[in-house]
Symmetry: C2
Subunit: 224 residues, 2 copies
């Protein structure tokens, strides 16, 4: 079975991607501790990784490298209403850094396949979730590595990129994903309970509604 590297945040999207990837690949999951506000997502990733992976690494990214975001700086509040443009929850170069770690791990493990749960439909408008970014990253990666030069070309798989949140949930439920184990909230508490009001919570709740499925998310506050 070929190996794949799966970026596993512990959220709804990456849990679904892991379920998809594990049907055809031996999955090596990586998660990141980047001083993000909600560390309970790493616990969720560890729980999810117990089911479908051959290995799981939690990689540390130094404090300060991705600062200045509401997700990495406690003094910037997480907004509860949508704003024009790219929101303050944007984290500088996050997916570039995540994919670059995945690229190194892929070469070390002789894998040519990376899975990432980016989505450009029901999303927060982050530039590094768009198809043009992913294509550019893949092209760059194949020039960057010894593997690429030797013709072992890398593919970045984005099975969710054009799916609505409701479609993602429907796919995941068919594959047996237990969404009660996932944490999407930008400011989940230590128990993994969600605020219900941030952009990520709103997109997630709308997804369960539109999929016609009851929302298994545990909330710590009343929903607006």
């Amino acid at each position: 079975m070929l190996k794949a590297i799966v970026l596993l945040s512990g959220g709804l999207d990456s849990a679904t991607v892991l379920a998809i990837a594990s049907r055809k690949f031996e999955c090596h999951a990586i998660s990141f501790n980047y001083a993000q506000r909600s560390l309970s997502e790493i616990n969720a990733a560890s729980r999810l990784a117990q089911l479908n992976t051959a290995s799981h690494q939690v990689i540390h990214i130094d404090d300060g490298v991705m600062s200045g975001s509401a997700l990495t700086d406690d003094t910037i509040p997480v907004p509860v209403e949508s704003t024009a443009g790219i929101p303050v929850t944007y984290v500088p170069a996050r997916n570039t850094l995540f994919l670059s770690h995945a690229l190194a791990v892929a070469e070390v493990l002789s894998s040519q396949d990376i899975f990432i749960g980016v989505n450009a439909v029901d999303y927060s408008g982050y530039p590094d979730c768009r198809p043009e970014f992913i294509r550019a990253y893949e092209s760059m990666a194949n020039l960057a590595t010894k593997a690429g030069v030797e013709g072992k070309l890398l593919t970045i798989h984005t099975p969710l990129i054009d799916k609505s949140k409701a479609e993602i949930i429907s796919i995941g439920l068919k594959l047996g994903v237990d969404y009660s184990q996932t944490v999407s909230c930008y400011q989940a508490n230590a128990e993994g309970e969600a605020c219900g009001n941030c952009d990520s919570c709103q997109l997630r709740r709308k997804g369960f509604n539109e999929a016609g499925v009851s929302d298994p998310t545990r909330y710590f506050s009343s929903i607006n």
Copy 2:
């Protein structure tokens, strides 16, 4: 004065790049601790950074992410003779990971300029030192970030990419670089003394010879 991020390994090339960049930019240097064989290069970077930088961060990259190279795995000997193809001193996705950290730091500091001392003339044949890689990285980076989307485009400066080692040394000497403070050796000892025989030492020594300058490198062993 505009800010620039300068990748500073502590070697001859990056010391020269810092001297070039500091003529026009307020320089913020970053170095990496990635479990490389020769940690004395970080000490060299710290010494060099004292002269020409507004700040210097040493960023940690987790052990294992870039393993399987003679530079990160003590069980793989550093070769003393040139080999065909990309040598075992190649480190998986190294410049991609370095540039991705620089990209994040640049966005955090509102800088649009990154300097990197890659060279595609007197070099070890690494794919991530080639002009086509740098161009692809820059294109990707400008799709990845909020800054890029808002038209604050990033430039990756590679002032040494087409220079011979002798030309680099001549440029640096005119700018006052003290090459006795730099460490290029793949297996320098804790005092920063060089082996004199690895690919990097050979390229460096040839450069001083061709530039007609005495070699200030301190060696710990006799030179082959």
